[in-house]
Each structure stands twice: as C-alpha cells, then as structure tokens.
Symmetry: C2
C-alpha cells in the first residue's frame, strides 16, 4: 500500500465537517489537520485526536499536506483565501457562483502555476457532477436539448432571502421540480419551458410576533429574481415545527439530455441525485477530487483545473489495471 494522501481542511462549517466524515470512509487518505479562523481550542473535531490550527500556521505546514480542501463560502471566503493558498498547496474547493467561475479560475491558475501546484476549482454536484453530465449529454447527443431540474430540496440561498423579509422569524424554502414537466422531458420531447413551468417554490415560515401574514406572503411571492417568476406557496408554521420538521438538508435533482441520433430514434440520458445531506455529499465529491488533484500534481499538471479536466479513473482508489479488469 502506498503512503496515504495527507489532507488538510480549511474551515469547519457543514462542508468541513462533511470532509472529516468523507476522509474516514476512504482507505488511502488521512486527515492531518483542520485550519480555522476561530480560536483553535473552540473547535471540536469529529476525532478528538485531529490537530486544530489557526490559519496563520498554514505557511509553515506546506510539507505536511498533499492536498488542502477549502471549505469556505464562495461569497466571502474563497475569492480571498483561494488565490493565497493556491500558491502554497494543492487545493480543492467548491466555488459555486456560476457567473464568476472564469474569474475565480484565472485567480487560482496564476499562483498555482507559478508554484507548480494544482488547484481544482468548483467541485461538488452543481457545479460539479451535474456539469459533467451536461457536457457529456451534449457530446453524445449533439442534436438534442438539456434540462436541469433541482429538488426536491432545501435551497439555502432562497431560505436566506425569505428570512430577510420583515416580519419573518425563521424560514426554509424547498425547490420542487414540476412532475408534468419532468415527464415531458423524459418522454424524449424537447419542450421549451418558462421558469414557472419547471419548478415550484414552497416556503415554511415562522412569523415574528404581531407580523401580518398576508403582507409577509405578498413580500415573498413578489420578490424579484428569487420568487416572482415562480408559483410560490407560503405555509406558516410554529418555531417548534420548523425545528422539528425542517432541519434536514435534503437536496438533489437531475440532468436530462434527450436527443435524436436519426429522425426515427430518440435517446434519453438521465443523471439523478437524491441526497439526504447536501453538504455531506458535496464533501464526498471534494474528497474524491482531492485524490485526483494529488495525482494530477504528481503527473506534472500544474495550474487550475475543473471537473471537466479530470479523467474518471483519477477519482478511484483502484489502479487503472484493476479498473479495466473489474469495472469496465
């Protein structure tokens, strides 16, 4: 057995804790430390023996770590931390602000190249596994159409938007694909949908004392960008119900490509995820891509990469020979 791949984790929110768990499920990796902006002694790792360090310790630890998994957020953390750390370590992150990926990619590519490091950006499931399936579907069926459906799932961004409405004490928002739309796509039709025809939005809201339910509902369903283009239902519940029934971070969805290989023959490809824990699954994707990143770096592949650049075999714990013999 080769040496285990030495992993460091930056950040200890849902994603960082998921990475701790995911490393525990592998046979070829070990966690060498968690790095945090908080006072290290306030953080409780899953395994009490995992050392916890401050961020300031990172530059002195470049020889201890093969791949650093960046578990910060895309808005505040990664744009600043990423480029700093990409010049010191091989990194993997889940940067997920789709529109800013080219800019983030460039900001990681330059320092990683200069330091002969490898930075795998925007891993996860969307961006990530869904993106892979979007481009594979298009490559295999160029005469076709691609549909991405999200849900049933709890959307963090939309839940936050509801929580910012005056009069709301607590809330969650679920995104649900509309079954009739899914059925049409699965049949091989290539329908053109309005936003409203593809997904529903369903809110569970706890009101502040004295808040006007109708006003809150109206403020939510007409909220530009977040809700106005959807059919949105708002259900008022108690704080107890919110705590009891709506804590699971379920999510998922599917990418469907339907296309024709000839006038007569329609073909349908579907990739779907049903996730009981959105952050834990994302963490598992990060850990698999950490293995690939370690290998890419060993192959002399320096700079920034995305999931589009990673051959499937590089994600596996098995050797190429074993994969060909057992799993092709």
């Amino acid at each position: 057995m080769a040496e285990k791949i030495r992993i460091g984790i930056v950040g200890h929110g849902n994603l960082g804790r998921g990475v701790e768990r995911a490393i525990g499920k592998t046979a070829d990796m070990r966690l060498v430390g968690i790095y945090t902006r908080r006072p290290p002694e306030t953080l409780t790792p899953l395994d009490a023996e995992t050392p916890v360090f401050g961020m300031a310790d990172l530059p002195a630890h470049t020889d201890r770590i093969d791949v650093l998994i960046l578990c910060g957020g895309s808005k505040e953390d990664l744009p600043k931390q990423g480029p700093e750390l990409a010049g010191l370590f091989n990194t993997v992150d889940s940067f997920d602000t789709h529109a800013r990926i080219p800019e983030y990619f460039a900001s990681m590519d330059a320092p990683a190249r200069a330091a002969q490091r490898t930075a795998l950006v925007s891993a996860g499931w969307d961006p990530g596994m869904f993106s892979i399936n979007r481009i594979l579907g298009e490559a295999l069926l160029p005469d076709g159409a691609t549909y991405t459906f999200w849900g049933d799932g709890l959307s963090q961004g939309h839940s936050d938007a509801v929580r910012r409405v005056p009069g709301v004490a607590g809330a969650v928002q679920y995104t649900r694909p509309i079954k009739a739309a899914v059925d049409r796509v699965r049949s091989g039709e290539r329908p053109v949908f309005t936003t409203r025809e593809q997904h529903l939005r369903e809110c569970y809201v706890v009101l502040e004392e004295g808040a006007d339910a109708d006003k809150v509902r109206e403020a939510i369903v007409t909220m530009p960008h977040y809700f106005d283009a959807y059919d949105t239902t708002v259900n008022f519940i108690t704080a107890e119900e919110l705590a009891r029934d709506h804590q699971a971070m379920v999510h998922g969805g599917f990418v469907i490509r339907s296309g024709n290989t000839s006038d007569e023959n329609t073909q349908v490809i579907e990739y779907g995820l049903r996730l009981n824990s959105n952050p834990e699954f994302t963490s598992s994707v990060l850990v698999a891509y950490a293995r690939a990143t370690h290998r890419l770096n060993a192959m002399g592949q320096h700079g920034a990469f995305t999931v589009f650049d990673v051959a499937p075999g590089l994600l596996s714990q098995k050797s190429p020979e074993q994969l060909r013999a057992e799993q092709l």
Copy 2:
C-alpha cells in the same frame, strides 16, 4: 474554425451506419471513407458521395484519416483487425467482451505505442458510460453498493441463443429489470439479490412448422447460463407479428450507487439510459470518443486508453474556456 477531424469507418453493419449518422450530427468532423471486406461497390453509404474502399486500401490511407472507427464485432473482427490497425491509425472501438478487455487492451497498446498512435478501446454504453458511472459512484460514495440494471431492452446475445434452439424459426428476447428490486435500491437500501430477483427474461418465438411448443419452451427456460437462473416467459407468435412488432433495437438500463456519508445520511446516485436504438447510441458514443482520441494523440498521449482515462471536456465540441463560462 479549425480543420475538421477526418474520420474513417471500418465495417458497415448497424454500428457503422450509426457512425455515419452520428458524424452528420457534428460540426467538427467529416467522414472521409468507409472500409469494408465486402466488394466496395455492393455497399450503399447514407450519403452517396462517401467513398467506399476495400480493407486492402487502408495502409495507403494513413495520411487521409485522423481517427479510424472500428465497427466490427468483438468476437471475430476486433481481436484480429484492432491490433493490425492500431499500428497505422488512431482508433476507437466498442470491444465489449468484458472478461477479455485486459488482453485486448494489451494487444492494442503495444502497436499503438510503437507507432505513436492512440487507441481508445471499449467505448459504448456498457462497457462505456455505465462503467464510468460505476467507478464514479464508488469514488464518491465509498461506503455503498452499486447496482446495474439492464432493460427494458432487446438483448442480441440472448435472442441469438433462442434462435439456436431446435424448432425455433425466429425469436427475440427482452431483458426487463424487476420493479420491486429497482425500488428497493432507489430507496437507499443495499439489498443482496439473486440473479432471478433483479431481471426477467421474456422471449417472443416463432415456431418452425410442426415443432413442439412445450419442448421448445422447456429447452429455452432451462438453457444453462442464458436462462436457467432467471424467470423466463416464452410467448409464441407468428412470423408476421415478429416482423411487425419486434424490430426496434430498444435498450437501456441504469446504474445506481447508494451509500452513506454518515450513519444518518444515505445518498443515491442514478444514471439511466432509455434508448430507442441501441446501435445508434453506441455509434454516437464512438464518435464523441473519436474527438477525444484525436485530441489525446495531439497531446502526445500514445498507446491504448479506455473511457476511464478520458477527461469529460475532451469529448466536447466546445473549448475549455467556453465550457467553464457556460456549462460549469
């Protein structure tokens, strides 16, 4: 626009004809010739202007062709043709005898390496897209189980086996996944199935005149390896019904990985295909991998490769920059 990738086709059965159609769906490839063991003038290409050549012309055409797509069968054609042609051309094939893949891979690797050519072996959907999803599922959810279901679909090998039974004038065999088994797997359970519990086999048989239906049925359902481990139904139909209702080469199936990222959280990944034409879809996969093979060769990647070695981005007609900006 760059020069189009110049493709040659070897063999003009269902697969070769599918490749002709699939090239017509791309913007970056052109078909330069079809090569056949038959007298070239007896072959009718889809596009009357496509030149048809004998196999003996191939060695003189190495400068005309960027990638040669081998559309022969795995039993007789590829083991002989493949190693001969891999020393002359970049090649793609759909070698699908799972147990003999390592041996075939080695027989393609040596001549391709020696000639600085690239040979992509065993592309298609199984082996191929299903194989990719089996290893990705395992890499993302190492604590889990993988299930491959085939069907509803027409199985060529099993149809042939039925046709060899004395008294059978014509036949097709459909493989169907058992819904109860699929549902259990989708729920995140990790059941252990017997062969019989996962798939049904359904035969439609035309009897020869005077043949004994009961004897034929018994010979089919007890046939070792092909049918004895399954619940098999045999339906007797007329030659007219066979010709009218059972010509479509439908197939498909799904690969499901279910696993736990923690004790509490089960995650389910599913990749599915619903194919109206099995050979046309396989052909489309071959054509997408021909693009990747051309690029691998240009990158100096010589020798034999499988779908496990090909990064998703290499299959796309789009540039890496465009993919990152539009589809991540």
